[in-house]
Subunit: 222 residues, 2 copies
């Protein structure tokens, strides 16, 4: 199985690349700057060692053009709509996982939602309804993702208008030992994306601020 990550050199993208490659996936990380993606992929392969999936570095356009099972959008919110618009022709028909949270400029304890309602809904509108966009992984902290020996302390709420695609993403995430839940259609992203700044607020409120608060559904799945 193969996964492309657009914006794969950021903290979220790096952590996901490591987690998926560790489970045997081939991961293609993309960046605006191809040489940066190539350097990052070398670093990550070194972290992992042999006997795992391969991580390779490319431009964002290159990874969007490849035939892969899933395309993850992990770019900063400020570039989200433009990058998706620019790549729309090559992304069409692929299964897109949008993990982006519209954090307010200068205040990560708040969201600043777009007129479409959420990042996931924006992406869905740009790509059109034949391309399934699934919102997921918004609430998992990058710091936890990058600590490969740590079990991820955050469940994942998965939403999107295409139920078959939602189910595929839930199955995919179970391979990372995550509890992933069907949270309904894309509109639920208005809630799910906005959980992240609440977790950031909790992180920042501690006497010793940390960066790894998560949410869990109770009772747990397993």
């Amino acid at each position: 199985m193969s996964i492309a990550i657009i914006g794969g050199t950021g903290p979220q993208g790096r952590g996901l690349a490591l987690r998926f490659a560790k489970k045997g996936f081939n991961v293609l990380i993309g960046s605006r700057d191809k040489s940066n993606a190539m350097k990052t992929s070398e670093e990550l392969n070194t972290v992992l060692g042999a006997n795992f999936g391969k991580i390779t570095g490319h431009s964002n356009t290159e990874v969007a053009e490849k035939t892969v099972d899933f395309v993850i959008i992990a770019v900063p919110w400020s570039g989200h709509n433009k990058i998706i618009s620019d790549l729309a022709d090559v992304l069409r028909g692929k299964l897109i996982i949008d993990i982006v949270v519209p954090l307010a400029e200068g205040n990560p304890r708040k969201v600043d939602m777009p007129p479409e309602g959420s990042a996931t809904e924006s992406a869905q509108e740009i790509l059109g309804h034949d391309t399934p966009v699934i919102g997921a992984l918004h609430n998992v902290s990058a710091s936890t993702l990058n600590k490969l020996d740590t079990k991820i302390n955050c469940d994942v709420l998965v939403c999107g208008n295409n139920l078959e695609a939602r189910t595929k993403v839930i199955d995919l995430l179970s391979k990372l030992d995550l509890n992933a839940y069907n949270a309904g259609d894309a509109e639920a992203a208005r809630c799910i994306e906005a959980i992240t700044p609440i977790l950031i607020r909790i992180n920042m409120s501690k006497k010793v601020p940390f960066s790894h608060a998560g949410i869990q559904i109770w009772p747990p799945e397993h």
Copy 2:
């Protein structure tokens, strides 16, 4: 300490009345139908037995007029704005805790948010900015609240525009052995209220559907 619950005969109101009275609070439950509130309060006092706070039954107007430490709004969403408007004069200046979730008519797995953004923001707009409205307790299931011997399996995200009032509510909820978190201003209710239909969806998705899914912040406070 005393707490008034407007809409106190519903499942949420009953459970909260029991939980607070068990901790020694005097609880005034209100209903459109005073005789129903009186009958409910008798039932609840019988469940509790002696040596706890007293639960008394009144009309919604009567409980809104009393001098109490907190007023909880626990009415169905369909009546939320009208009841608050009708009682606005007597509620003014009190500390209001709004627990109402705008579930979509006929589909509890979705929200149908009002133009103000959330129930908490609607209440705040109706009551004006001198009356602090705090959103809280949206995600705690009524069935769990009513099982008095069960520890509540759900953390509480607390939001509102008045920080002092938010802090008072967080302190209040800690008396129910709840982990309550400062989630920011009233706008955060757009997210927090919308978590409830996601939990309802999870409840309904089980082979044996249940009614008690909750969310927890990880790492736990205690």
